[in-house]
Symmetry: C2
Subunit: 262 residues, 2 copies
């Protein structure tokens, strides 16, 4: 690592915060973060960004749902028959969404109430402790931007540091295979970075370049978070050189009327 330090003015380090515990409803995520960072000898600095897998937030908010306690509507039964999905899961998807984008057997892509278009309204059961009689799934956080802002505020009050907080999910996408990390909540960093009008190396003014900066950070964090048994839901990112823009996740949603693919 030492040689890499030579160019630290243009380097970014991502570190999985080790030993982050399983989260239970009602847990104070800020306290858990600070304890894990402290135990690892990691001291936050101004300008750091903490990327947090959304399940950490969802679980603390008690967004786990036992499928056995869900009563599907008639519409859920019909969509379940068409997609081959569990009607109780479809019921939850419908409650979490404002519209169906596409479906086929095995697949139900919806527009989430938060604006994101994704499979199953972001509901899944991986890395969720199973309790009770039936299967337990977890919904997206109620207000990821708000959760990110509260965590950012707590970090500032308790540790005196100004960090960015990013809440992430993994989305599939049209055109390209493979899921990638995306930002579903954020505070203290830009979502989009509009570079239109800036000169390139030859003085040409960029015409179309608006960068999905928060999604690029979320994708980078996804490389460490993993999907399986890694248990690395929190990633500390240092060295980002971001403009002082305070974005929100909704900035990344392409308005339906401007999206040629809806």
């Amino acid at each position: 690592m030492s040689k890499l330090g030579l160019t630290s003015e243009a380097s970014i380090t991502l570190t999985a915060v080790p030993g982050f515990p399983e989260v239970r409803p009602g847990d104070d995520v800020a306290e858990l973060l600070l304890a894990a960072l402290d135990a690892a000898g990691l001291a936050l600095r101004d300008g750091d960004v903490l990327a947090i897998a959304h399940k950490v937030i969802s679980k603390a908010e008690g967004r786990q749902v036992e499928l056995g306690k869900v009563t599907p509507s008639q519409e859920a039964h019909e969509l379940a028959a068409q997609t081959g999905k569990d009607p109780r899961l479809v019921e939850l998807i419908l409650r979490e969404s404002v519209g169906i984008s596409r479906m086929r057997p095995g697949l139900l892509i919806v527009r989430h109430r938060l604006g994101f278009t994704s499979a199953n309204a972001g509901i899944d059961r991986s890395n969720v402790a199973q309790s009770g009689q039936g299967e337990t799934v977890v919904l997206l956080p109620l207000d990821p931007d708000g959760s990110a802002a509260r965590l950012r505020q707590a970090m500032q009050e308790r540790w005196g540091v100004r960090v960015g907080v990013l809440i992430t999910d993994s989305h599939g996408r049209p055109f390209r295979l493979g899921t990638v990390g995306v930002a579903i909540g954020l505070a203290g960093l830009p979502a989009l970075w509009d570079r239109r009008g800036e000169p390139d190396r030859y003085g040409y003014r960029l015409q179309h370049t608006e960068v999905g900066t928060a999604d690029e950070i979320a994708a980078a964090a996804g490389l460490l978070m993993g999907q399986a048994a890694e248990g690395r839901p929190v990633v500390l990112i240092r060295g980002l050189q971001l403009p002082p823009i305070e974005g929100q996740a909704g900035d990344l949603i392409r308005p339906p009327e401007l999206d040629l693919y809806r």
Copy 2:
């Protein structure tokens, strides 16, 4: 940085290779890379990944085109009228693509001959030296996977290291605003990482998780490459823990017949 080193088993460092020169047609990119790394005191190691902005490859291949030397076809004139674009640019877009995906005034999204769906077939003029009478644009590399493989081979022969090579572009996308880095060529690393069947932390077998690993790496590199005058087209990525899968960029293309959004 020292404290971050405590958890180096789960950390990733991205470093912009400083002083990478302007590339001219016929340049040996491997030589330029090795010289820039050497000058920066950066020694490659097995398992490193070099992410390279596609323009480096395109320029070395002589893929610059002066618009003044392009004669638009009738079809190009018609599409130019519908989109408000330069007919000569539209001509190049058509030559580089196998089909039009969507268009409206100001926007022409096509399926590139390499399979990617993107605006303007990846052709643009930012960060391109302007020569001659008219505007000069640059096309995508002829065979980005092949270029990546040759660079990987050169690194192994000349420096004795086995590195991954990733050639990147920035794409806009449906549903979400903002461009993000994507992989358009690669060698020595996976494009997709299929984690279906792996257990999560509770023993549940993942059912749908195929990760767009190369795109996540490209997005991470995009954070350093920038879009404007940064002049950081090469990013060294260290600490990735990738499976021994040798992918290709085509792995990331969703087959049209499986894409609900075409």
